[in-house]
C-alpha cells in the first residue's frame, strides 16, 4: 500500500530501547546530583560541561534512534495495508521538528501508527490507548522545561537562577518518565506489527 515495503523494525526498536534506557540513566544521575548537591551542581559545578555533553549525546542519540524506528514502523503499517494515514513516513517524523505543529502532531501520527498496527484495514475506529497520552505529556513537559531553562541560561538573567535549577530538575525527571513510556509505546506497536496474525492476514 502506498508503495511501502514491510521490513522488520525489531533491530531498530532494540537499539532505540537501549539508547532510551541510557538517556534515562543519565537523567536519573542528573536528578540525583541535583537533589544531593543542589540544583546548580550541574550548571556551575566542576563537571558541568562534561555532564552536559554526555546528556546532549544520549538525549539526541536516543531521539534519533527512536525516530528511525518510528519511520520504519510508520512505513510498515502502510505496507500492511493501512491507508488514510497522514502524509508519508518522512512527514510523520518531520512533525517532531515543525514549529507549533510539534506540540500535537507527533502524538497524532504516533496514535494513528498504533491504531493502524492493531487493525491495518480498518484502523480509524480503533480505541486510543491512554499510554500514548501519558507518554506525550511527559515528553512535552520535559522538552518545554528544558527549552525554557536553556533560554533563561542564554539570557544570563541572574534573577532567574532559582527557576533555572528547578526547570532542569523537572526536565530531567520527566525525561525519565517519557523515555520509559516511550519504550512501552514502542514495544506495544512493535508487538502488534510482528504479530503472526497480521503477517498471515496481510502478506499471504
Amino acid at each position: 500500500m502506498e508503495g511501502q515495503v514491510y521490513r522488520d523494525a525489531s533491530p531498530l526498536a532494540a537499539m532505540a530501547r537501549w539508547a532510551l534506557l541510557a538517556d534515562s540513566l543519565v537523567c536519573a544521575a542528573a536528578v540525583a546530583i541535583a537533589l544531593t548537591q543542589g540544583p546548580f551542581a550541574l550548571t556551575f559545578g566542576d563537571f558541568a560541561t562534561i555532564f552536559s555533553i554526555v546528556q546532549l549525546l544520549t538525549g539526541v542519540g536516543s531521539l534519533i534512534l527512536f525516530l528511525f524506528w518510528f519511520y520504519r514502523a510508520n512505513a510498515n503499517v502502510r505496507a500492511m495495508g493501512a491507508d488514510g494515514l497522514m502524509g508519508s513516513p518522512g512527514l510523520s517524523v518531520a512533525w517532531f521538528f515543525i514549529p507549533i505543529a510539534f506540540l500535537f502532531m507527533p502524538f497524532v501520527v504516533m496514535r494513528d501508527t498504533w491504531k493502524a498496527s492493531a487493525a491495518p484495514r480498518d484502523w480509524q475506529v480503533q480505541p486510543t490507548n491512554p499510554l500514548l497520552g501519558f507518554w506525550w505529556a511527559a515528553f512535552l513537559v520535559s522538552h518545554i522545561a528544558a527549552t525554557v531553562a536553556l533560554r533563561i541560561s542564554l539570557s544570563e538573567d541572574y534573577d532567574m537562577l532559582d527557576a533555572l535549577g528547578v526547570l532542569f530538575l523537572i526536565s530531567d525527571a520527566t525525561a525519565i518518565v517519557a523515555n520509559l513510556l516511550g519504550i512501552a509505546v514502542m514495544q506495544k506497536i512493535q508487538g502488534l506489527q510482528v504479530s503472526p496474525v497480521h503477517l498471515s492476514e496481510h502478506f499471504r
Binding site: G84, L85, M86, G87, I100, M105, Q124
Partner: protein, 157 residues
C-alpha cells in the same frame, strides 16, 4: 497528499454537522466488495457528494487525506449518479496566514522595531499549507477524472 478509491457499499454514515457547502461526518463505514470493512472517521464531504452517502448506497468512493484532514471527494454510484467536490477553505487559510503574518511582521519591524518569531513562523507555515492542500485537491480531481465514464458493476444476485 494521499488519495485512494474503494469499491463497496455504505453501511453507516453518521453525520456530525452540515453547513451550507459541506458536511462533517463522525464516521462513514463501508462494506468492501471483498467482504471486509473500512471506516473513514472525521471526514469532510462537500454536500453534492454527501447527498449520495446514504446507507445501502453501492459504488466507487474517492477518499483523500491531507495533513490532518480526511474526506470523501467523490462518488460514482451503482445506479449511475456521480458527484465530486473538495473544499478550498484550507488553501485559503494558508494564503491568509502568509498575508496577515507578513503584514504583522512588517508592522513589528517598522513600528515596534522588533521581531516576533511566532508571527514569522506562522507566516512561513502558511506556504506549505497552501501548496499541500492545493496539491491534494488536484490529486483528488485527477483520480476522479481518470475514472470518467466508470460505472460500478451491478451487485451479484
Amino acid at each position: 497528499m494521499a488519495t485512494s478509491t474503494i469499491d463497496g457499499t455504505i453501511e453507516e454514515a453518521v453525520i456530525k454537522r452540515r453547513r451550507s457547502a459541506g458536511s462533517f461526518y463522525e464516521r462513514v463505514k463501508f462494506r468492501l466488495d471483498d467482504g471486509s470493512t473500512k471506516t473513514w472517521t472525521k471526514a469532510h464531504v462537500m454536500n453534492p457528494v454527501a447527498d449520495l452517502l446514504t446507507p445501502g448506497m453501492r459504488g466507487r468512493f474517492y477518499l483523500y487525506t491531507a495533513i490532518d484532514h480526511r474526506g470523501i471527494s467523490g462518488v460514482r454510484t451503482e445506479d449511475g449518479r456521480e458527484a465530486f467536490g473538495v473544499s478550498k477553505v484550507n488553501e485559503n487559510v494558508g494564503i491568509f496566514m502568509v498575508v496577515t503574518m507578513t503584514l504583522i511582521t512588517v508592522f513589528y519591524v517598522t513600528v515596534l522595531e522588533k521581531i516576533s518569531f511566532l508571527y514569522v513562523i506562522l507566516g512561513i507555515l502558511g506556504v506549505p499549507m497552501f501548496f499541500l492542500y492545493r496539491q491534494n485537491r488536484l490529486d483528488a480531481e485527477k483520480a476522479y477524472e481518470s475514472d470518467a465514464g466508470f460505472r460500478p458493476a451491478p451487485r451479484a444476485a
